[in-house]
């Protein structure tokens, strides 16, 4: 509308639109993908890599995949991609292990209760939080009763535990117990009492110096030597103890980092107020120390959760163990990629969720002392 000849009094010219390439998606692409020759090269390399991987992966996993088949040969005959029929046929084994089929509702019920409890614990504004928190207190006993039976329910031996259920049992127990033990160990390491201190240091450094596998071997082969002759206690329980001790040593180091970051003035002020040791720890030091060690604590949780897969080396059937056992079946040989990817997705979802929650918690508790 406005022609070049049109005259404006100074200051009355209407705003011109910005130059074409300096706004919107074009600006974004120029800045983020093609800002320099090196960047252009990297962009094209990345696009090429994606081109190599994505279409193949997609057709393998979806468009060329078989979802219903009787065995591997039928899968191969039907299509060239993944054989998800295997997973579809065995998902119950992967979930429950060899838990008696008629009693599986108990596992499901325990899991639903666990979810409720976790939601109540993690979400502050959750509806009906009070009763759920009471449920959280009795949950350990309730879940033990549901899973093991007795008192009116049919008894189930821990040998029949397996699959994702076993992972969750070991993971949740380890997570719930390793935090308090880790806190005690960390406080012990910071203690003024030399014997307590060195006992904690020796324990922590020993556990951190050996791989979890050796500890699991100890649990399965050697532990019975150190118990009174004739005692025979459950392999799953032994594994739970070892996994918990292992994680609590790492937890102790993470929390020690947090404790060291709290200025000495805080304890001194607490002392000056007349608080006793445990009071000052509970009310002053630990709330601050735990808050800043949240990322480390959650990382340890994630590590523990992932480490539950190691129980296959002593013969417990976690999802990987079930997978390996199923792969030995001649009907389904050679499908390792499908099995491992399926298990990987399960672990990714659980661990990723934990990591995201820790980020959210960090942001929520960030009271602005950071730069």
């Amino acid at each position: 509308m406005s022609t070049p000849e049109q005259k404006y009094a100074p200051g009355t010219h209407p705003d011109l639109p910005p130059p074409f390439a300096s706004t919107g998606p074009i600006k974004w692409i120029r800045e983020n993908l093609f800002s320099s020759p090196a960047n252009v090269t990297m962009t094209f390399l990345a696009i090429y890599a994606l081109y190599l991987i994505l279409p193949g992966a997609f057709s393998w996993a979806f468009s060329d995949a078989t979802f219903v088949a009787e065995d591997r040969n039928e899968c191969r005959a039907l299509n060239s991609g993944a054989c998800w029929a295997f997973i579809a046929q065995r998902w119950q084994l992967f979930t429950f292990g060899f838990y008696p089929p008629d009693e599986r509702w108990r596992v499901v019920l325990a899991f639903v209760l666990l979810i409720l409890v976790v939601i109540a614990l993690l979400w502050e504004n959750c509806p009906a939080r009070k009763p759920l928190l009471i449920l959280a207190c009795v949950f350990p006993f309730l879940a033990t009763w549901l899973l093991l039976g007795g008192f009116g329910l049919e008894k189930v031996s821990t040998d029949q535990f397996g699959g994702f259920m076993l992972t969750i049992v070991i993971g949740v127990t380890g997570i719930a117990l390793s935090l308090p033990i880790g806190i005690l160990l960390a406080l012990g390491r910071q203690s003024n009492l030399p014997i307590i201190k060195y006992a904690c240091v020796a324990f922590i450094e020993f556990i951190r110096g050996v791989p979890l596998i050796t500890l699991l071997f100890v649990a399965s082969t050697m532990l019975s030597y150190f118990l009174p002759p004739g005692t025979n206690f459950n392999l799953l329980l032994r594994v739970l103890i070892m996994v918990t001790l292992f994680a609590s040593a790492y937890m102790a180091e993470v929390i020690r980092g947090g404790l060291q970051a709290i200025p000495k003035g805080q304890t001194e002020a607490a002392d000056a107020m007349g608080l006793k040791y445990w009071q000052s720890m509970r009310l002053i030091v630990l709330p601050q120390a735990l808050k800043i060690s949240i990322p480390g604590i959650v990382n340890t949780f994630i590590g523990l959760y992932k480490d539950t897969t190691l129980v296959i080396v002593i013969g417990l059937l976690d999802p990987l163990g079930i997978g390996q056992a199923s792969l030995a079946d001649t009907k389904w040989q050679g499908l390792s990629s499908e099995v491992y990817l399926f298990v990987a997705i399960f672990f990714f979802i659980s661990c990723f969720a934990m990591a995201r929650y820790s980020l959210y918690l960090e942001r929520k508790l960030d009271t602005g002392y950071k730069r």
């Binding site: 800045e31 983020n32 993908l33 800002s35 960047n39 990297m42 962009t43 390399l45 990345a46 696009i47 890599a49 994606l50 003024n192 009492l193 030399p194 014997i195 307590i196 006992a199 020993f206 951190r208 110096g209 050996v210 791989p211 979890l212 596998i213 050796t214 071997f217 100890v218 082969t221 050697m222 019975s224 030597y225 150190f226 118990l227 009174p228 002759p229 994630i302 992932k306 480490d307 539950t308 897969t309 190691l310 296959i312 080396v313 990987l320 390996q324 050679g334 390792s336 990629s337 491992y340 990817l341 298990v343 990987a344 672990f347 990714f348 661990c351 990723f352 990591a355």
Partner: protein, 402 residues
């Protein structure tokens, strides 16, 4: 007595009760607590040892390391030192130690390189590579290492060709599902000259670097240390190698029966474990590197640029030395983790410490206690060595406060 309590301002002040008097004194209380703790710890160990002795007696076993010299009578498919099934358990253990060290060192090497690349990619301004690195890191960190190892091993064994259809590199190296077969160098007598030149080159470079530092401190003159080093270490020995008429024979692997014979072989178990361990640890190292570099405040870079240092020198002299201080301590614990995680080798049959002395030897001799003690002592030693070395390196690069 009652007046005394009143004077103390009420409350049950316990002058009367000597036990609680002791308990309320900080010093005596700490002594009491420690005595109780000591007694408990000793009682615990005494109880366990007592039980162990009773159990061993009941099973008719003894506690003896003599089995180490008995023949192991099992085969180990990867041995860098002389070993056969008639060798002793101690020899098998040594092979295991060497295999663990091999996987740990090569894993640390690859993981460090990949980790630094990932860390830099995560900081890159290029949105696409940044996001790709992020996706990779999130995937790898949230999936158990054992799964990665099994997946890579499965892929290698199932997707690589059988020896008969091996894909070859120039008909001298062969990639099969039984391993990667390569020519084996067999040096001729004159080869020692090349070796000596190489060592001389290394020593010369080391001394020259010190000299160049001194000159730079005194006068500001900068020598091209890196280029001169490359000439001394790589170029001169290579030229000598060619001039001497390449004094090395190559033993080329040949297909005999169902497998290749001769040459050198890298077994698929090693490759799978090596790749999985390195790619897994690299994701963690990548995050550490990113955190380290972001921890160096941008003002440092700006100040250095303002002083007229070029970009590359800014990175080498200002940013990286400061970032290293943040990076090294967590990097050390990643190296420790990698070494300990190499024990997962047992899942795919790579014969490391856990699989030899802690696995087959243990099962054959039935000496759980002795074998597990040896295995744990070995891993503790490795951990100690690595953390000592990293502590030394850390103290060398840390901030010297005046």
């Amino acid at each position: 007595m009652s007046s005394n309590t009143a004077l103390q301002g009420g409350g049950p002040v316990t002058r009367r009760n000597p036990v609680s008097r002791l308990w309320n004194d900080k010093q005596t209380r700490s002594v009491i607590v420690q005595i109780i703790a000591t007694v408990l710890i000793f009682a615990f160990f005494f109880y366990m040892v007592q039980n162990a002795i009773a159990n061993l007696e009941r099973l008719g076993k003894d506690f003896d390391f003599a089995f180490l010299s008995a023949p192991a009578s099992y085969d180990i498919n990867q041995h860098l030192i002389e070993y056969d099934s008639r060798s002793s358990h101690a020899r098998a253990m040594t092979v295991g130690i060497i295999n663990t060290l091999l996987i740990a060192v090569s894993g640390i090497f690859l993981a460090t390189i990949l980790g630094f690349v990932l860390g830099v990619l995560r900081l890159s301004k290029n949105w696409l590579t940044n996001k790709l690195a992020h996706v990779y890191i999130e995937y790898v960190r949230n999936v158990p290492l054992l799964l990665h190892i099994l997946l890579v091993h499965g892929l290698l064994v199932h997707s690589l060709p059988k020896p008969k259809q091996a894909s070859s590199v120039g008909d001298v190296a062969f990639l099969t599902n039984r391993g990667f077969f390569m020519p084996k160098p067999d040096p001729e007598p004159l080869f020692w000259i090349v070796g000596v030149l190489f060592v001389i080159g290394l020593i010369f470079t080391f001394l020259f670097r010190r000299y160049a530092r001194k000159v730079q401190d005194a006068t500001g003159k900068i020598y091209p240390v890196f280029r001169i080093g490359v000439i001394a270490v790589v170029v001169i020995p290579s030229v000598a190698f060619i001039l001497l008429g390449m004094p090395v024979n190559w033993e080329i692997p040949e297909l005999k029966g169902f497998n290749y014979r001769g040459g050198m072989v890298i077994r698929p178990e090693f490759i799978a474990l090596w790749l999985a361990l390195s790619f897994y640890t690299a994701a963690f190292i990548g995050e550490i590197v990113r955190a380290g570099i972001t921890a160096v405040s941008h003002g440092q870079t700006e100040a250095s640029l303002a002083l007229g240092l070029p970009r590359k020198r800014t990175l080498n002299l200002v940013v990286i030395p400061q970032a290293l201080r943040v990076i090294v301590p967590p990097l050390a614990s990643q190296y420790l983790n990698l070494t300990k995680n190499s024990s997962l080798a047992i899942a795919i049959g790579y014969m490391d410490i856990t699989a030899t002395i802690g696995g087959i030897s243990l099962n054959q001799t039935g000496r759980e206690m002795e074998c597990m003690l040896i295995v744990m002592a070995l891993y503790l030693t490795f951990s100690l060595l690595i953390s000592t070395f990293m502590n030394w390196y850390n103290s060398r690069i840390k901030l010297v406060e005046r």
